[in-house]
Symmetry: C2
Subunit: 476 residues, 2 copies
């Protein structure tokens, strides 16, 4: 594997840490949820209303308790994934309410889309987990969306998936369903299977719903992915140094809370910061600044000894065009080489997080395969230099039938799934298909051929009965 790419020097990491401590000590962070305030009071922090002023030593001490690595469990144990400073886990989009179709049309996403996205993630060899909230199932009542979503991940694939962040209720229901799947709450606590996206409200705030979910998951030993989205120039400073520091303060404050509740509870340091477009003050996510925030976040997380989340196939485009391609590649590549561990939005996301595209999903899947190959780097074991073949061929000639070519080309040279390497004549005769067109054919074929992994029937019934009962309670 290639070495990690550090975009910051050690001194710059220290600078960010120092300024972060100054923010946490002198500005503090607002937690609107009283149970969170009660905990910080217990741990001796200065409180004014809902604002917590952190002691530096307390922050440093508590962050150290968070583990540097852990396993996220999957229904199929062969598909467990590792959260650490070495591996990378790609997951689909998170939260988009729209589907952008190949022809440029827009429509609301629904539960059928949700199932299909989980299936595509289940089928992919580059996407290691099926994520959560992969699109908004707009045809399902709000009260029971989380139940249907969790069930979709369990039913349609056997990879690791995410828990619901819909407050304490969403967390409890997620934990209950995961307990059925993994053999009870005690086993689940020892072997975390749920990971949940907890977002701060920038600047320097956490709300009730997120705090209640976070505290429930922390107590249950499940993984809190604590993320900050600082929008440079809008919800945060326009300066990149200010943005990364503000983000760092927010994420650390969240991590500290999880460690107060359950020291050693697994957490991930999350970043989704990006610039505001200063003409429109809308978020932009497919750009060099986002890619730099991503890379710096990986490094800050290493500094604090916790895994990191960042990056994705991020872009601002409305269609699967060249822009969608180059923006997604820049941000995903930056994440992959800087040592980001968990990637939300690795596939399918469009237009600053507002839409999902099936064509984009398979495009991003190709990009994911490319960056995984890039991360792998060179194999420099002696035989890989192929010196015997180089000597045998000598100047002039070719290597087409040499032993090393026949033996090694499959492992050394990646074949693309979606990208086109045809000559012009063949491409012309094939109807001059662009990536968008080929991608549509590809995801339809993958879905048509996908085999849903077998789910134990008794377990399936138990899950459905739980969903039925909870739905009746929640829809009252």
């Amino acid at each position: 594997m290639i070495p990690k790419f550090d975009v910051l020097t050690k001194e710059e990491v220290s600078q960010i840490h120092e300024k972060t401590m100054e923010i946490l000590e002198t500005v503090g962070v607002e937690f609107t949820y009283d149970p969170a305030i009660a905990i910080f009071k217990e741990w001796g922090q200065r409180i004014e209303g809902h604002r917590v002023y952190f002691q530096r030593s307390f922050v440093e001490e508590m962050v150290q308790k968070a583990p540097a690595s852990f396993t996220l469990h999957a229904r199929n144990p062969e598909k467990n994934v590792q959260c650490n400073h070495r591996d990378i886990i790609f997951t689909p989009s998170y939260g988009p309410p729209y589907i952008y179709e190949a022809n440029g049309n827009r429509r609301y996403s629904n539960m059928n889309d949700y199932d299909n996205i989980v299936k595509l993630a289940g089928a992919s060899t580059n996407i290691q987990a099926t994520g959560g909230n992969v699109c908004e199932p707009n045809d399902v009542p709000d009260e029971i969306k989380h139940l249907k979503m969790i069930y979709s991940h369990i039913k349609n694939a056997d990879k690791n998936f995410m828990g619901s962040a819909y407050g304490e209720m969403g967390a409890q229901d997620s934990i209950e369903m995961a307990s059925m799947l993994f053999g009870g709450r005690d086993i689940l606590k020892k072997n975390p299977a749920l990971i949940t996206l907890i977002n701060s409200i920038t600047p320097l705030k956490y709300d009730d719903r997120m705090l209640a979910a976070m505290m429930t998951y922390a107590a249950a030993g499940q993984v809190n992915l604590i993320s900050s989205l600082v929008m440079s120039g809008s919800t945060g400073p326009a300066t990149m140094a200010g943005t990364i520091t503000l983000q760092n303060a927010e994420v650390l404050a969240g991590i500290v809370l999880t460690q107060c509740i359950n020291p050693g509870a697994p957490v991930i340091y999350g970043s989704t910061s990006g610039p505001a477009d200063m003409r429109t003050v809308s978020l932009s996510i497919g750009n060099a600044e986002t890619a730099l925030y991503t890379a710096a976040s990986a490094q800050m997380a290493r500094f604090y000894g916790v895994p990191s989340r960042g990056g994705g196939g991020l872009n601002d485009s409305k269609t699967v065009d060249a822009q969608a391609g180059y923006e997604a590649m820049m941000v995903l590549m930056s994440a992959a080489i800087s040592g980001i561990n968990y990637v939300l939005h690795a596939a399918g996301i469009m237009h600053y997080y507002t839409a999902f595209s099936f064509e984009k999903f398979v495009m991003d899947d190709e990009i994911a395969g490319m960056v995984l190959k890039y991360r792998k780097g060179y194999d420099f074991s002696d035989e890989m230099f192929a010196l015997n073949d180089i000597k045998e061929v000598g100047p002039g000639g070719h290597f087409l039938y040499q032993a090393s070519t026949l033996e090694k080309h499959r492992q050394e040279l990646r074949m693309p799934d979606l990208s086109d390497r045809m000559g012009y004549e063949a491409w012309d005769a094939d109807g001059r298909k662009d990536t968008n067109t080929r991608a549509k054919e590809r995801w339809q074929k993958i879905l048509a051929e996908y085999e849903v992994p077998h789910l134990d029937e008794a377990l399936d019934k138990e899950l459905c009965a739980f969903i039925e009962r909870r739905s009746q309670e929640l829809m009252k």
Copy 2:
């Protein structure tokens, strides 16, 4: 600026060097040009026919004579560019015989295209030199193409450009024209202005035309960009370690020859290696392997103390679609972060070097702007942390009217030239334009607005008279 990204460890660099020395000593390199053989004989190397077996100490000693940095001069001295281990120079496509149009049609390129590409490169703030052989002017007789091309660079822009590699004749004519422009051969020798692409013939061979050009430029103190394109699995081993080592042997052999002719003559270590697609045995250039060869080449060049060439907006696509975007970004980004210094094909190239696209040029220009911003990284001077504003805003609120936002957003947050950040409704109302469509509008606008920099009339006449005279001689 961000630190450089090393994809190889120090030990791996040494391994490549050791195996390279073994190749140069035991397999040798074939030079078909007798004057080159005569030189190696003079320098005491073992020769068999046209094959030179290099002594390791000789190679190491001669490569050390090549300079680590030098200036490439431009007609407008403000546009001189630096070849070293810090800066990056982007130049247009090199050599494509076709134009791919926005609608997917293919046609032969001509002299008018050539002029337009030079103008687009002249107008760009991201492309620092206008390159050479930017497309094949198929409507100009072969004998005088080089004259027309050099004149186009002088006339249509005032940036640095390349010399012709059409043997000794191409080199002499290029040097003559550059001498007129820069005030004579002596001045030119002290202040190199021409850089020329010299390609090895893989495996392990150099031909007459390239050697004659290289030797002429080396003697004149101009820059030889010595490049190897190893096609993994076809003209080289399918293994990545074998490919990068074979490439290294070829490039070093070329560098050694330049230093025999003129110790201290400026050279650049060049890489364009990429995999063969093993289904069709055609070259592929938009992929992770090419990106890894690029990054490793930057590192090998640093090891030998010479500037490097690699990367570009490389891709295998036939149209400016998502694939063109993600492939170009991967390779250009890899070049930019690994410390490549001179980038041929940074803008406009399509379909493994066989075609130019005007739409692709402006797309690549945007990518170049993005990677330049990424390379710049963070400014961590104290005021850039914007702590006063973070304190003033506190939890909740926004930064839209804070002092740091108003003062710093322009320098900190890059605004795109081509990428679209509109909302869906605005994009829909604007005709749902994809990147390809917007790019066509953009290059036509740039060309319409471009002002050709003034060229001294007497000099212009002198150049035209030379071209006229040489054309009559060459067309006889």
